[in-house]
Amino acid sequence: MTALAALGLPVLGTATTVDALTFAIAAVIILSGAIGVVVSRNPVHAALMLVMTLFGVAVLFVEQQANFLAAVQVIVYAGAIVVLFLFVIMFLGVDRQENMAEEPLRLQRPLAVGLVALGLAGLLFLGIGAHWSLGTKSVAGAAQGQNGGDVAALGRSVFTTYLFAFEATSALLIIAVVGAVVLARRTPTVPGEPAGVEADADATGDGEPTPIGSDQQDVTP
């Protein structure tokens, strides 16, 4: 039971009713959004449900005094990543209903549910029963009670302790941008020459994109 106490599981120890209510509402929003992502047949609906979950997580960030991360969560995730998802969905025109009843792999769903339930049980068991090394000394600075709040504390930490990692992420972003451009661009066709990359998508050579399955007939041995 000491582990329980250390994890703060005794309900409403020092929390006010408002905090508990905020957590409850945010949890409902997050869980319904997460379930919506999994069960939505239409990818567009799944993306909108994802936005709901992300907003709920942002609320919980604010609740835990991570104001900067909450703002970044809304701006980067809900503002950029989900819009990118929606853009690709619309761009590819895959925003049609998916037949969920069809189950190509037998036993896949029961097996998946069983595995995930096992994993969740393990997570919760470890989370409640394990002895967390709570109270260890902070290496990167305190989260609370610093000058300027969490924004200044996070900035100080990122630009001193984690400066090298921060610079590495800038390199990562550049690499990702270059990679996305290389993956998504078509080779410009020079007049008088056969098409470059397009030739791959056009194996029949009749100027039309190869339909599904036309070049991948399954040869049963």
């Binding site: 329980l4 997460a34 990818p43 980067v76 690709v88 590819l92 998946a112 919760l124 984690y162 993956l183």
Partner: protein
């Protein structure tokens, strides 16, 4: 004062499990990506919770980096989806069996 951290950790575990379930069950590559985002968000929530419980800003800094990596991952992943869709006209994971032996 917020609720005890155990509530947040439990919620994060449930969200992570839902994301993992979706990744295993769904066959649309885009929805699978969204489930990966769910799992990343659950991990972020755990980091922020531990940052508060241990009073250590390192957890929040790690969430910051996770956000950057998630953005890069989505950009490259969607680029791959678009490239595959160009060639095979499908976004269903089951149809992508070129490398099957």
């Amino acid at each position: 004062m917020s609720l005890g951290g155990g509530w947040y950790l439990g919620l994060a575990a449930v969200v992570f499990s839902i994301g993992a379930l979706g990744l295993l069950v769904r066959r649309n590559v885009l929805v699978m990506f969204m489930c990966v985002e769910l799992m990343l968000n659950a991990a972020n929530l755990t980091f922020v919770t531990f940052a508060r419980m241990l009073n250590d800003i390192g957890g929040q800094a790690l969430v910051f980096f996770t956000l950057v990596v998630a953005a890069a991952e989505v950009v490259v992943g969607l680029g791959i989806v678009v490239a595959i869709f160009r060639r095979r006209r499908t976004s269903t994971a089951d149809d992508l069996h070129i490398m099957r032996g």
